[in-house]
Homo-oligomer: 499 residues x 2
């Protein structure tokens, strides 16, 4: 028994993501309770609105005045977060009448456990319907909005910086990993919601909201068992001509499906049908959690390629060979370069360069040719997109040498400084190519997912310009394939080139 | 024209990897020359033997006495490293007569460029043959041995700590990436050689050497175009019953093959034939550079599973569902747990646990049940191997809180300390399971490839016990599949269970 999209769902979800005040029912002083941790995370995240902890036994929690019940808070709460035992949730929702329009129910122990508990979930929905309240969850790990709300009503303690990637996840666990990765990769996050059991609001309701949210450019999603598959696809079909949806699907095999059934009590559908529906609806399906960010970040920043013809720029032969293999096997054409392109490359590369694609920069101590090569490839008609492999390495030796006595040698010092400068120039050239020629350039560097310290310099420069390097050519090639497919979808839509 | 395995190749290669003295011909004072950087790397790496820089124009380089020619060095050099222009290499080799038995030729500009230069390469081989010298390369980026030689005769400046994984690579570039990753992942490296154009010594000669090298447990390799495919497979067939060979193959598609041809001048064979030959020879083929280490590290430390029946322990439902999907799709059986196993799990998990595989630890603030779950799964007859997802997370919140005023609260502090301790206990339980029940346990944590700082604590404990966590369940599942296939190969060999 579910309330389906009532008019105004989108407006009500503004209360979820950008509430001016939040009441937390079940707020606690005990660090072993979610009612403590969520309050802690709201505080640590720097939430700017009013927080009203509700707990009849306390007068103050974490320095905030506590209220015996929701009816005691001053005025109303845009959002009420509920973290009380499952048996109390329906009653608590009833008490919210007139005080809130949307409830984020963290509490688990409902329909995911069995038919008895499902009844209790139905009671919650009934209570909500009777009192004009919409429900997120139950059995979810929270929601967040980085900008402007600084609202982190979350179980996990991660506070990603702002970005325009937003996510609706049918798994709080997968969502939590995404939140953590967004911090580790320093790529940020826009809005996130764990949809839980979807007793009321479904994953597609959030898609609909994100469509109209100016702070969201790309929609990410984990879907396991859609409550209303037809509606999900209808909404996706309306969203994807305007904003891409990147999805990872759980339960695509019998083993995963059995696991999904025990997890959210949902039965995953046949994979081939689901995949076909996704294709038709313009949903981009990916296979690993990492890929959600990999693809999402590229869709946000990179122009779409006109076609599938890829040029590979590589700092070494073997890497180029392997990358060409991967490109070919996933349907990217490792294009034959035209003679005029070769001629342009002749003018920047040493005479013995390989005169083909991949373009091998040739083992050497300088990387000064990267800029000219990128320019030659980006302006070539036959090239739709570029993979730049092995970027940002010159700095590694420089960092090492700085800590040795060799750095006293003025020649060594000069070499180090030049390496760093060349890497910076390469990064600048990548950004310029993207912006000047309107062609995607994906960068590969095995330092891409490392600590801030290891990314300092050219990788940091790329990241601060929205170009997030990939740690392997396999991952970068897969992303490029998704960009190609996004372009094909939009072209078929007749909405022309995405810029 | 190549010299094929003369008797004593293995002994001669001891001079390459564990030389007591090294002459570097083409040693230079200029930091823009490889002859400087290789000398620098030999010094920085802490090589313990004698180094003889050879350069007629210098009397001292990097604080070492320089010699006008190889004939001027005291005694002989176990290894001679050559970094002079291509046109000089044959002559330099002639001068090595009686002074060295093996030459590592860094210099490029030979057969990889064309037929003219190939003649020059043949001259080098002829000079070597006439003077009793074996040749590594030309056109390679060096060789290294971490233990006991501390010998880093390399173009790249990476100095991995000791390990028993060794590699022969037909691409210096791919090898260089592996060296860098071994430092970033802190997993170390045993011996490494860039085989270059293989004018004399082929990739299989190094396999043969590694077979008899007590310091090598697992052999890694990048192969693009084998010079003698039949011999390669013969040697592999002799090696793999004793030590695994993990290989990545370049040029498996038309696009990669064209690239390979321009890279090492070798024509890659048809992929299906090569794959079939690898299977027959017990070679484990992987698809990404990362996977070489992923699989190699597991083969080195983990027991082989008796079969393909996997149990998944997960910190959350969605992650378990996705992992079950991947396992199923690559041929691992997500096994149905027997009632006695369920009963054992009942005693450590809360009453509402999902009673199936994947075993969901259930969202909760404590991870105290990991130890009991691992024990129950490892002792179950129906379970051959275990994937443990989401390990090492409790510490993340603790680290965050340590820097806030909340840490003053004794309850918060206690919670943090408990989280860290529980993560440490989980790590100890993984190690115990592997050693006590002789079943592989692969750990997944998205912090696995991060900086040392992020890995401190439980991940560090795992690593120091040889258990290297994987950053994604896809990577871990693929590794498990390789362990299963290794076991099948050995069983078919009749060599019984590998321990």
């Amino acid at each position: 028994m579910a309330l389906r999209a009532m008019p105004g769902t989108s407006e009500i979800l503004t209360n979820l993501f950008e509430p001016k005040s939040i009441a937390l029912i079940g707020a606690s002083k005990s660090p072993t309770k979610w009612g403590f941790l969520i309050l802690m995370n709201l505080t640590l995240g720097g939430y700017k609105g009013n927080i009203y902890p509700v707990n009849p036994k306390e007068t103050e929690i974490l320095g905030l005045k506590a209220y015996p019940s929701i009816s005691d808070i001053p005025g109303h709460a845009d959002l009420v977060v509920i973290a009380v035992p499952a048996t109390h949730v329906a009653q608590v929702i009833r008490e919210c009448k007139g005080k809130a329009k949307i409830a984020l129910v963290i509490t688990a122990g409902f329909g995911e456990l069995g038919p008895g508990e499902k009844k209790m979930e139905d009671d919650v929905v009934r209570a909500a319907r009777e009192n004009g309240i919409r429900v997120v969850g139950p059995n979810c790990n929270g929601a967040m909005c980085s900008n402007p709300a600084c609202m982190y009503a979350l179980m996990p303690s991660y506070f990603p910086r702002p970005n325009t990637l937003s996510m609706a996840s049918q798994s709080g666990n997968v969502g939590g990993i995404m939140l953590r990765m967004s911090v580790l990769r320093n790529c940020g996050f826009g809005k996130y919601v764990s949809t839980g059991n979807e007793a009321d609001l479904h994953v597609e309701d959030y898609f609909d909201y994100f469509l109209n949210d100016p702070a969201t450019d790309v929609i990410l999603s984990y879907v396991e068992g859609p409550r209303d598959g037809k509606k999900l696809m209808q909404v996706a079909r309306a969203v994807t001509p305007h904003k891409p949806i990147v999805m990872i699907k759980g339960g695509r095999t019998p083993a995963g499906s059995i696991a999904a059934n025990s997890h959210t009590g949902s039965l995953a559908g046949a994979d081939t049908v689901f995949s076909a529906m996704c294709k038709q609806s313009g949903i981009i399906l990916v296979n690993d959690i990492d890929e959600l960010f990999d693809v999402g970040l590229a869709l946000k920043r990179q122009p779409l390629p006109r076609g599938n013809r890829v040029a590979i720029l590589t700092t070494g032969g073997g890497l180029g060979v392997l990358c060409a293999d991967v490109c070919h096997s996933i349907g990217l054409e490792v294009v034959s370069l035209k003679s005029e392109t070769i001629k342009r490359l002749d003018s920047v590369l040493p005479p013995w360069w390989n005169r083909g694609n991949p373009v091998d920069l040739v083992a050497g101590l300088t990387r000064s040719s990267v800029t000219g090569c990128l320019d030659a490839l980006a302006r070539a008609d036959e090239v739709d997109c570029i993979l730049a492999l092995g970027m940002g390495f010159g700095s590694a030796r420089a960092k090492l040498l700085k800590d040795t006595s060799l750095y006293q040698d003025p020649d060594v010092k000069k070499m180090c400084e030049r390496s760093i400068e060349e890497d910076m120039n390469s990064a600048r050239a990548v950004i310029e190519c993207i912006d000047k020629f309107n062609k995607p350039v994906l960068v590969v560097s095995e330092a891409a997912v490392l600590s801030k310290e290891d990314r300092k310099g050219s990788l940091e420069l790329l990241e601060s310009n929205g170009v997030f390097p990939y740690p392997s050519f396999v991952r970068a090639a897969r992303v490029m394939k998704c960009l190609v497919e996004r372009q094909r979808f939009l072209r078929a839509e007749g909405s022309g080139l995405h810029t």
